[in-house]
Symmetry: C2
Subunit: 283 residues, 2 copies
């Protein structure tokens, strides 16, 4: 893959650029962004070799789309129109159903591979890009059978080489499970942050009491609303279901406390403790 | 302080032992525990110099109580009975009101200092003890005026020397604010873990989808129910209040999604983003 075009050179696109370039020094990484300043920043940080525009995409061997998922749905058909026959377009979005749907009947569907590299931090923009972000992480690949075999092979090697393990899933299952494993955490964290800020807004000294536990639980509340709003919109039904179950569990915990049933409170926590084993070595 | 007795040689007691011994090599650290195996483990890990029992406390210059808060309330009066006139007892509990109350009329109240060193990890027991745990962290000191001046001075120097900054607060304010800054995070994390485990219990493969965001948000769900149940019990009213506000905020978020008001969803997140600045350099 001589010419790789990355649309969106922030945390995900920029980090992919770093690791792919390291493994493939002969590859030229072209950056595309809505904002000229973002592109300049990516260039000055050496994330990309060259600046480009959407008009250049016909020269791409690989296009990686790492922008908010609403923009992906909007732009993907046009991008796919432009790719040449032996080129491939992949996306890195946190939802998969709407993205797969918008190109299901596209004449170049076989030149598209839907994926979700599950990696990130709470930071965003080119300066958030980092080397090694994807090492040991999972890359969910959807509808792999709809992509031309030779193209998927090349792309999956590229992602395996930067340390990712592939998991194959249909878009419906991806969106359902990722609501639990990722989207809900973000809302729980944002609303925890809100609850505390609302209460303590006039007492800034109180934040001296924040320990590493609070910091860890509220970390995702620093995430980009630009990126997360369209994710929640596209995955609305699944996310609402997780929220309902989460709220029910919190209510139950509160009711047990109100009833002074601290044996049950203890058991609620004890029964969840084995998350330790479940997550061991995973995240 | 020649002889320091630490009751409870787990994460907090053990970590205090390591740092205090490092700064004061001449001090003898005596460990006391309900369980002989815990004490043996602490000794073999070099957290303590000697094993001791509650009967030895009359020889203590300083007693540090770092056990579950219900056990502290139960044992504190007796421990204080035993301390000699120039000795000091401090506790490290995550609640302060009940602990301060149980000794408010104790004849040796001036030999007690109530504190809450805000530090920890999700792990527990002697093997969880670590050097440097308290560096740069906040130590909340309650009712400092009720402790003999010479004794508080010595103790506060000890804690300042291991890197803590002191904040002074009354027990009511401590318990109210710590419910927001710490206790609520633990419940939000436990119930997040429960929601996901309940849903995905038959699909262990799904936990491959766990990213660092989920791991961070659910980290506190690994905490010890033995330690946390009595905290929630003692701080029941405050914790229930935080839970109600948290549940209301989650419900609001869900309702905005149901109404397709994603501009408001965006604003909810945007308005919470400045938690970044608030926490900067704090936690």
């Amino acid at each position: 893959m001589k010419n790789i075009y990355i649309i969106g050179v922030g945390l995900i696109g920029g980090s992919l650029a770093i690791d792919i370039k390291k493994n493939n020094p002969e590859t030229v990484i072209h950056g595309i962004s809505r904002k000229q300043t973002t592109l300049d920043e990516a260039l000055s940080l050496n994330l990309i070799d060259k600046k480009a525009t959407l008009d250049d995409i016909d020269k791409a061997d690989l296009v990686i789309i790492s922008i908010p998922v609403d923009a992906t749905v909007k732009m993907l058909p046009t991008i796919l129109d432009k790719i040449h026959d032996s080129g491939l377009v992949v996306d890195a979005g946190s939802t998969k159903l709407d993205i797969c749907k918008v190109v299901e009947d596209h004449p170049k569907r076989r030149n598209f591979l839907a994926m979700h590299p599950i990696a990130g931090t709470e930071h965003s923009g080119p300066s958030a890009a980092m080397s090694g972000l994807f090492k040991g992480k999972t890359n969910i690949v959807c509808e792999v059978e709809k992509t031309a075999f030779k193209l998927q092979e090349k792309a999956l090697k590229l992602f395996a080489d930067i340390g990712m393990r592939m998991r194959y899933m249909n878009p419906e299952a991806h969106d359902k499970h990722i609501a639990y494993m990722s989207h809900l955490s973000h809302i729980s964290s944002f609303m925890l942050g809100k609850t505390v800020i609302d209460k303590e807004k006039n007492e800034r000294d109180i934040f001296d009491m924040a320990g590493s536990g609070f910091a860890s639980t509220v970390r995702l509340a620093k995430s980009s609303p630009e990126m997360w709003t369209p994710i929640f919109k596209q995955n609305k039904e699944n996310v609402i279901e997780t929220l309902e179950e989460y709220i029910d569990n919190l209510k139950l915990f509160k009711e047990l406390m109100e009833k002074d049933d601290f044996e049950a409170v203890y058991n609620e926590m004890k029964n969840t403790n084995h998350i330790k084993q479940i997550l061991n070595g995973i995240a």
